[in-house]
């Protein structure tokens, strides 16, 4: 499978990395977490979600865990994903890059200071 470019990191991939920062999640869990952390502005469809997951797995930014049930969602066994240390590192550097951008935006008076 060809490597997919993660530079620059697509926003969907970044959101997934962020969603997995606190806990291991299955696909639907990631989707809900992303929707929550973006206030429902980003609702990942299955195609986008799993192709991003595929890319992140190939890049070693997340890892796949054994299938298990999610007690809240019935008896189906689901694949869970966990953020790898490389993934965490990349998420941090991406957040820093954005923070730098924000600083610039603030300095240019494009964004008011109170938000960040």
């Amino acid at each position: 499978m060809p490597k997919r470019k993660l530079d620059p990191l697509p926003s969907a991939a970044f959101q997934i990395l962020l969603a997995l920062a606190d806990e291991d999640l299955h696909g639907y869990g990631i989707m809900r977490q992303v929707a929550e952390q973006t206030e429902s502005r980003m609702r990942l469809g299955p195609g986008t979600l799993y192709s991003s997951i595929q890319t992140l797995l190939e890049a070693g930014l997340i890892v796949e865990l054994d299938r298990r049930e999610d007690a809240k969602l019935g008896q189906e066994r689901r694949r869970y994903y966990r953020l790898s240390s490389a993934g965490r590192k990349l998420a941090r550097s991406e957040a820093e890059r954005l923070a730098d951008l924000l600083r610039v935006a603030r300095a240019k008076k494009i964004l008011r200071g109170e938000y960040v």
Binding site: P46, G47, Y50, I53
Partner: protein, 484 residues
């Protein structure tokens, strides 16, 4: 229901993606459908899904393409056939069989349409006839006199079909009369009976051997009585069946019943004065097809004759040509482009080659006074001179008669190629607008052997390519004259 629809939509993704994430995607759909109930959430769900498909399906395929193109480039370097595929799995046996079947059906449909659409004839027929096509008499170029001669002479049974371009030139039509084409089905038994009777009448009236005609007619009636003809409703098939029955008994391959979807042209029994005048004029313009009369080195007379035209028009030209060669020590007749004509002209020219009357056998005509040469010709000195006749694969009809008879009489040396092989002309007898009969009218008994040149041509004594025949004949004549 909606899950099934989404399962179908998932098939849009590349197979490798479906294999790995298909189930997960479907599960995600189920989870969302479970949580998002009600009209608006459900509408939003579908909107999300469709938008997601629109974005992620092309992306998935785009990611695959570079790998495949890379592989293709590698193959191209090895000069191997290259296929670009969107999927990285090979098609299953079902798909391959379906593909084969579809190709076969498409191919068959194409050929069926090609052969049966409208009034088209099969391709094979056009190719066959293309081989026989030649310029029509309206061309009015030198050489057309030969066509006129052919028009005025006979029609071979196999060629007397109006949908054949050649016979259109051969058969004069009766103005612009065009009765409508018939449907190919025989309407009822009465029509079959009428056709059968007409065929039998024609056979008895025109066939050369009355005994065979009677036997053949009896066989046709017996077939009819047995009900052999009843099954056939197609007109063309009926014509073919009658032809088969005719040939079974007569063993004569020139007997045939012909059907034409288009109406037959009406034959005029006698050429009109206008036809004759046109014929005469064309011949005169063409020097009666006496293309070259000259004396070659070593006093060899050379005559290039492209037809055997009607003596009633061309007697003087022929006499003058022969007279101008009278003092030659040998004669070369060049018949390589000779298209035939009148057997009376064959006799007229042959007369110069004998010092006593000889019978010029023509399988198509009963012996008449003109079948014997009027030898000796007064003042003629050619009767004992060596004679060479140049032939080619297109030397035909009366020219073949000239070659055959003089070869059998051991009077000439044939140099060149085997001739075309057309001996039996026959009459075409119209039954109605759509049916006709070809009946060979061989009238004379062959005095030389059982077989004439029909179908086989006349074999040359010295076999060389037509283009080299003149040179060869000149050499032969020269060495023969030097031996003397």
């Amino acid at each position: 229901m909606s899950e099934r629809i989404y399962a179908c939509l998932l098939r849009l993704f590349p197979s490798y993606f479906r294999e790995v994430y298909g189930d997960e995607a479907l599960q995600l759909f189920r989870d969302r459908a479970h949580d998002e109930k009600g009209f608006f959430p459900r509408a939003r769900l579908w909107l999300d899904l469709l938008a997601d498909l629109a974005i992620s399906v092309p992306r998935q395929y785009r990611y695959v393409r570079p790998a495949l193109t890379g592989a293709a480039v590698q193959q191209r370097l090895e000069c191997a056939p290259v296929f670009f595929v969107l999927l990285d799995e090979s098609p299953g046996p079902g798909a391959l069989i379906f593909g084969c079947a579809l190709s076969m059906i498409a191919l068959s449909l194409f050929s069926i349409l090609l052969n049966h659409a409208g009034n088209h004839r099969p391709l094979s027929a056009s190719t066959y006839q293309a081989g026989y096509s030649r310029p029509s008499a309206s061309g009015q170029a030198p050489g057309d006199a030969e066509d006129v001669i052919m028009n005025a002479s006979r029609v071979r049974p196999g060629e007397a079909k109006p949908d054949d371009s050649q016979s259109k030139a051969l058969l004069p039509t009766d103005g612009p009369r065009l009765p409508e084409a018939l449907p190919p089905q025989l309407r009822h038994a009465a029509e079959r009976k009428r056709l059968l009777n007409a065929v039998i009448d024609n056979l008895k009236k025109h066939y050369v051997d009355p005994e065979i005609a009677r036997k053949t007619a009896d066989a046709l009636l017996a077939h009819e009585k047995n009900g052999d003809d009843d099954k056939v409703t197609d007109r063309r098939a009926f014509a073919d069946l009658l032809t088969k029955q005719l040939r079974e008994v007569s063993h004569d391959m020139h007997l045939e019943v012909a059907y034409s979807r288009e109406p037959w042209p009406v034959l005029r029994p006698e050429p009109t004065a206008e036809d004759l005048a046109r014929y005469r004029k064309a011949l005169e313009q063409d020097n009666c097809t006496f293309k070259k009369v000259e004396i070659l080195p070593h006093n060899i007379g050379y005559l290039k004759l492209n037809a055997f035209p009607d003596p009633s028009v061309c007697r003087e030209t022929a006499t003058a040509a022969m007279a101008s060669l009278n003092h030659a020590d040998a004669i070369i007749f060049d018949l390589r482009d000779n298209r035939g004509g009148y057997s009376s002209m064959v006799s007229l020219i042959s007369a110069y080659l004998f010092d006593h009357p000889e019978y010029m056998y023509d399988p198509r005509e009963s012996p008449t006074q003109q079948s014997w040469t009027l030898s000796p010709v007064p003042g003629n000195r050619l009767a004992d001179k060596p004679v060479y006749v140049l032939t080619s694969g297109s030397t035909i009809s009366a020219a073949e008669q000239f070659c055959y008879d003089l070869k059998m009489l051991r009077r000439v040396t044939l140099v060149g190629e085997t001739t075309r092989g057309s001996a039996h002309a026959g009459g075409f007898h119209r039954i109605d607008d759509h049916f006709g009969m070809g009946i060979p009218e061989a009238k004379a008994i062959n005095p030389f052997s059982k077989a004439d040149w029909e179908g086989t041509g006349v074999e040359p004594d010295v076999k060389v390519k037509a283009a080299e025949a003149l040179e060869t004949a000149e050499k032969l004549a020269k060495s023969r004259l030097q031996r003397k």
